[in-house]
Symmetry: C2
DNA sequence: CTAATAGTTAGAGTGTACGCTAACTCAAGC
DNA sequence: GCTTGAGTTAGCGTACACTCTAACTATTAG
């Protein structure tokens, strides 16, 4: 089974522009052509494209991916180099997840803070917009704003 | 305590170019100036800048961040809108982490696969480069390559 | 046979987020 | 008062990853 560039675009969500661009950039030297010059993607090609997408989505630049593809085309002599690339990328994703979790802690705090602020009607009543994500949120009742909640039948 | 743009650059790791760029783009309308026009960052400013960095690093575009900053400058009337922005970004980071974990599973599989391939000396001996991350890696011993491990004293 | 559809290349254009330079001003130390 | 270093704006340049156009060719349905 083979696929045209349009079918691959549909399957992967990448545009045909992007697929041709990747090909031009040397990311897909393995894709064969019909006698008239059209690209014919195999299932193996799609698997490899999936790997390329994985590398790209985890922050690898296209130039680095091209380098990896070149190594892969050279066969078994580059096995160790490729293993090291995967190990490196594995570590990179670990770091990314750790960073994302830190950002998430901050956002969690902000959600708690602004939920309290919405409740109080004002930021001023909510204690400490500080960097400690575990800090309890406290509302100063004396600063609470009596909010005229707009209602559908309010006039 | 206030900080010059150079001190802020050192503290945050952002370049002075970037800080001025952010200011021009309306991301820091809260930073005051000395009579001669120099920026004076307060500790509160640094906290807010930290939040901006958090939003940017979690994928929010500068134009969206500017919108958020504009809302923040408008005060309590935009509390709910800002809460919703944080909730949305919180969800976005959850999704990012989930995606990163999927990518990581793939990379973990690749590391196991190429570790086996390095051991066997050839990719051909290793079973199924398939998409199942839990698949056990098997080496076909009949295809194993006797590798002449280069030694320091090998000649 | 023809029209519609989908493919091809070369190359120009776009959006985002900076990075850098030029020309200038300001503040502090000697 | 003069040098040094750090600040200022305006605006041009750049890297990356697309995105699209033009001009053309090939395949397929009727």
């Amino acid at each position: 089974m083979t696929y045209s560039i349009g079918q691959v675009a549909e399957k992967t969500g990448l545009s045909t522009y992007t697929l041709r661009y990747y090909d031009r950039e040397g990311l897909m030297p393995f894709v064969k052509r019909t006698p008239s010059g059209r690209r014919e993607f195999t299932d193996d090609n799609l698997d490899f494209l999936d790997l390329i997408t994985c590398l790209k989505d985890t922050g690898m630049q296209l130039s680095e991916i091209r380098h990896f593809v070149e190594l892969a085309m050279q066969g078994d002599s580059t096995l160790e180099t490729r293993l090291n690339i995967f190990k490196q990328q594995q570590q990179a994703v670990h770091d990314q997840i750790a960073q994302a979790k830190q950002h998430l802690a901050k956002l969690d705090y902000k959600v708690r803070f602004f939920t309290a602020a919405c409740d109080a009607g004002t930021e001023a009543a909510v204690s400490g917009d500080c960097e400690l994500p575990g800090q309890p949120i406290v509302i100063d009742e004396s600063l609470r704003v009596k909010k005229a909640h707009p209602r559908l039948n309010s006039f």
